[in-house]
Subunit: 417 residues, 2 copies
Amino acid sequence: MKQISVGIAGLGTVAQGVLELLAANRDLIRQRSGVEVNVVRVASRRAKPEVDLLGADFSTNVMDLLSDQRVDVVVELIGGERLAKELIVGATAAGKAVVTANKAVIALHGNDLSQQHLRYEAAVAGAIPIIQALQKGLVGNRFSGLSGIINGTCNYMLSAMEDEGVGFDDILQRAQALGYAEADPTFDVDGIDAAHKLTILMALAFGTGFEFPKVYIEGIRAITPVDIGYAAELGYRIKHLGILRNTAVGIEARVHPALVLQSELVANVNGVLNAVQVVSDAAGKPLFSGPGAGGAATASAVVADIVAWAEGAATSATTTSAVPVLSIEQVSSSYYLRIPSRNEPGVFAEVAQILSSYDISIDAVIQKDGHEQGDLVDIVLLTQEILEARMNQAATELQALASVTGEVMRIRVAPQD
Amino acid sequence: MKQISVGIAGLGTVAQGVLELLAANRDLIRQRSGVEVNVVRVASRRAKPEVDLLGADFSTNVMDLLSDQRVDVVVELIGGERLAKELIVGATAAGKAVVTANKAVIALHGNDLSQQHLRYEAAVAGAIPIIQALQKGLVGNRFSGLSGIINGTCNYMLSAMEDEGVGFDDILQRAQALGYAEADPTFDVDGIDAAHKLTILMALAFGTGFEFPKVYIEGIRAITPVDIGYAAELGYRIKHLGILRNTAVGIEARVHPALVLQSELVANVNGVLNAVQVVSDAAGKPLFSGPGAGGAATASAVVADIVAWAEGAATSATTTSAVPVLSIEQVSSSYYLRIPSRNEPGVFAEVAQILSSYDISIDAVIQKDGHEQGDLVDIVLLTQEILEARMNQAATELQALASVTGEVMRIRVAPQD
């Protein structure tokens, strides 16, 4: 029987989930892995008398975990950046292993942290063992890309907007009422949370190190039920994706709404679920889906990391590759364009002329009465793949047309490979 | 740098895939894991001069791998049962570790093999690291069920039957032409291959040991495009599933066609892909999908297992639980029933009367002109959950009705939990 002594920092939802899971399934964990997990100390600013600490000592100062000689593994579940980083650095300096669910601290400070003392399965896609899959299960594969629904709030909101034809603001209110979105929803709906996770996935899949500032980030505030409807007519769903691609000129790393073919499995991952699909040379395109957040689901990943430390499982090097990360202007995409226009002869010809002048080919067109007034139309297009920089120029010209009556809407189409 | 020396038994598609993957991605594997995989001997009855053995010695007798002192890990890729078992037993007796892709040998002889010397990720669902997920990533979870598309041939055939409205025999011919089905398709289409895999999943998820004879097995030969069409009208797809459920009275272990709600992610896994969905207490219902067969995909799992040996990763105990495995008569399901009948007044009343007499409630009904003749109808029903033994009795009475003109078709509905 391997014994491992754990100190838990934090007593929020995830920490409580870890304590509950260890209480409920201790025997099962022991039978499966031969590992006995002992929680020896819990540290949190505030005691919560209602939480069963499984006999652990309690401190109000998380730094007490570092001086507790019994603690083999510090489980960092306080969130935030400054104190969490200090705790992790202190723990590794004290020769302790660390488990964390803190995506921000890894994405923003991962390059300063001792990777061989650190596990963070819970930081990406909650219950889904995607880090383990990249590092172990798919260790023999060269990855050419990855795309994932890695923010459950955005996926819930887009799914609900599609199902009910309701706009962003209404759905946000409901998501907040259901606890799927924070009072300040910025982190989720503006894509920052997803970009933290994508930063970690990029480091693991492509050995770039943790390069959060190089990830292009766009949220879902601009998405309307009208666009969701047109996308459906064209055979697509709109999903908020994190996308990585290893191209001949560098690595694409981008978080934005994207059109996904309805027939793709990832298009059918709805509600608060997460999913990550990897594009690999040997294993094809495996997809992993499951709950991306929540106390119990995140605790599942934390417990797996604790057991992995007890088993002496190797951590993997995040090799540093010299491959550059591309700016969004260097990325090529197909685009969905919605151009609100006057319903006049010749407007479509003007649009087509501008696109043609930038060598942008059109794959599909819908022209519909606009959703605002009868004398307006929405010209909706799918383009072939074109460099973003070039599309920016074309879009500027389209926007300047006298017959264009509103903002030109642009949504990238997810890569097909 | 950890060195590991490998001896490969077999030189078929998977073995060639392993050699190719090691040749292509050796540097990447070394960077990620710090492991250098050296193939020192390949053994196969027939040499294949066109295959690059990466400098390994060649033997025509697979038992030579046991006497080669350099070999740390024997990779068993010869398939079959007798010789494969002999090789595995010999290798573990010689203190060597084993990696195998051979589901039959594990499912049928797993209880006789030394589990702590054995890895077999490639034996279930090819490229999908499902064994690793059950044993490591989800180690903290109590599983209440599992359901999976674990035979790509069946899934390809059912998907094609749905897409094209074509019958079993036509699609089987095409699957054979495409290499998705063997000349003798029995193993796949009669569910035996899926039952091998389910046996392994049951041992890992529920600690039952390897109890292949206790798995209920039914293939897809009886499924018709007519049933696929009615199922679609009712909101379902027909998938060939392996199902495990941990109930109050024992474990259900069954392989059969099943109706799956179209909105479920697993219903949208089409073509030759596999998928396994686990029902767990903490991690919810994670789903893992990907290619279930093919040289490269299977090689991906084999290479992961080799690297795991090199890293000294723990194997997990398959604990022996005292929980009984239920017979199919002890299983409760909802059922799809198609009752070919004369188009006469009172027939439906007779059917309803019989079901009612067995306390079988009806959830949905379609009555359609039969697909054969105008004076026939198909009475199509979905029932509520009922014990199989009881449904058997009701079905016997239904079949005996004078107004029933053909065989009553019964397909179980997949559990909703």
